[in-house]
């Protein structure tokens, strides 16, 4: 439907001023024309809306004239929520502030879990950046792979070293280092425990403990007991590092 003539006809229809012939024509056209039906529906809805609006407004005005709202004004003032709202708003702000503070204070777990390879294996640290070692032995191949930061290859070499081998404990320490480097903390923890069990030297055990602790930090569940043990043992190789770590953890 388009054009003012159709609008005029709808207006005449809703005003109920059409002649019988005109109305019959309009009804016939209405049956065929969906747009005309929609437009008529719009005007009928408008009429209905105006009727309800006016009814509600007239009643409101009449009630005001009768003093109805003035009476309701004299209701006993109920317990005000204003203070409650203010308290809720203050609480919401406080919580938001705490969350913000916590987020800014939240440590970077991965960064806290990193380990300097020189602290664990001097040879592995020394060959970094140099040409790869002779890869005839599994340990040499692993060191070369670690130097190239190919931890997956390093793991293959190190896994091949059997439990009875003299380099087994060292291999487990390096495996734990490799797993930490790729942020595989559960495996790092498991390798560190194996290294601890296989170590005969106190220093190797201390390294294993340190790696185990770092693995727990990487997993965001720092082993507080181990941390306290290392920190409180002044002879422990990582005592000072543990004390520093304690201040960095939440």
């Amino acid at each position: 439907m388009s054009g003012s003539s159709s609008a005029d006809r709808i207006e005449r229809y809703v005003q109920d001023v059409m002649t019988e012939a005109e109305k019959a024509d309009f009804m016939e056209e209405l049956e065929r024309d969906e747009a005309l039906q929609n437009e008529l529906h719009y005007y009928q809805q408008l009429q209905q809306s105006m009727r309800w609006n006016r009814q509600l407004e007239q009643l409101d005005r009449r009630l005001e004239e009768e003093g109805f709202f003035a009476q309701s004004e004299q209701l006993p003032r109920p317990r005000s929520y204003r203070w409650w709202w203010a308290a809720a708003a203050a609480l919401a702000l406080l919580i938001a502030g705490m969350l913000w503070w916590q987020s800014t204070r939240s440590p970077n777990w991965d960064s806290l879990a990193t380990v300097e390879i020189k602290d664990i294996d001097l040879e592995a640290a020394r060959i970094r950046g140099t040409r790869p070692l002779d890869t005839r032995s599994d340990l040499s191949g692993a060191l070369a792979a670690i130097a190239a930061e190919d931890y997956s290859a390093a793991e293959s070499y190190l896994q091949a070293i059997p439990a009875g081998d003299s380099t087994y404990a060292r291999a487990r320490l390096l495996l734990a280092c490799s797993a930490l480097a790729v942020e595989d903390y559960p495996r790092a923890g498991a390798y560190a425990r194996e290294a601890y069990a296989a170590s005969t030297q106190p220093l190797d055990r201390q390294k294993a403990e340190w790696l185990q602790l770092k693995a727990s930090v990487g997993a965001k569940r720092p082993d507080r007991t181990l941390l306290d043990k290392i920190a409180s043992d002044k002879k422990h190789r990582f005592s000072a590092d543990a004390l520093r770590l304690k201040t960095q953890l939440p």
């Binding site: 105006m50 309701s72 109920p78 005000s80 709202w85």
Partner: protein
């Protein structure tokens, strides 16, 4: 359980009176329930004028809903009205995001759900018309009411408002255009 059933029954009997266009009903509702709504709005820091506005809107929305013969209230009539008024009041102040969760706990339901429940897509036009009719100028509204509700001629309207007949015709078209534009904005928002 029986008590709950009674409450719903009473509420839905009121709806039937709405549907039957019982003219005394609206006044009765004001007498019985306005103060409950006013008490709630007042607690939240609103004015009596605020309450009068939202009470009308809540009743209008109920009138729209009762056009659907299947619409039923699931709570007491007073509970429904108080929740509706409170929701509409918060909505008008764009504060519902902040405060509704608190009051949803108090009411035991989300008042927004209560108000919107039963409103069908086809009812959206009527709801938008409510808003639009209250936004247009009083002169526009008078012209439209005289023409569409009282079915007065342009000549009559011109004489009663001190306009020319042509001016009345033009004004009506302009007012209808404004109304459509507000409705479109309300529907899309």
């Amino acid at each position: 359980m029986a008590e709950e059933h009674e409450v719903k029954l009473a509420a839905n009997q009121l709806l039937e009176r709405f549907r039957a266009n019982d003219t005394a009903l609206l006044r009765e509702i004001y007498t019985d329930h306005f103060n409950a709504c006013w008490s709630k709005i007042r607690q939240a820091g609103g004015t009596r004028e605020d309450c009068r506005e939202v009470f009308q809107e809540a009743l209008y929305s109920l009138l729209v809903k009762t056009q659907n013969p299947e619409f039923e209230l699931k709570t007491s009539f007073r509970g429904y009205l108080v929740q509706s008024c409170f929701y509409l009041w918060l909505k008008a102040r764009k504060q519902q995001q902040l405060w509704l969760p608190l009051f949803s706990q108090e009411f035991g339901v989300d008042p927004g759900t209560t108000v919107l429940e039963g409103l069908e897509e086809k009812d959206q036009l009527l709801m938008s018309m409510y808003v639009a009719l209250r936004k247009i100028s009083s002169a526009c509204r008078r012209v439209l009411e005289l023409f569409f509700l009282e079915k007065r001629s342009d000549k009559f309207i011109a004489a009663s408002m001190g306009y020319s007949v042509q001016f009345v015709k033009n004004k009506r078209q302009r007012c209808l255009k404004t109304l459509r534009s507000i409705i479109a904005k309300t529907t899309n928002s």
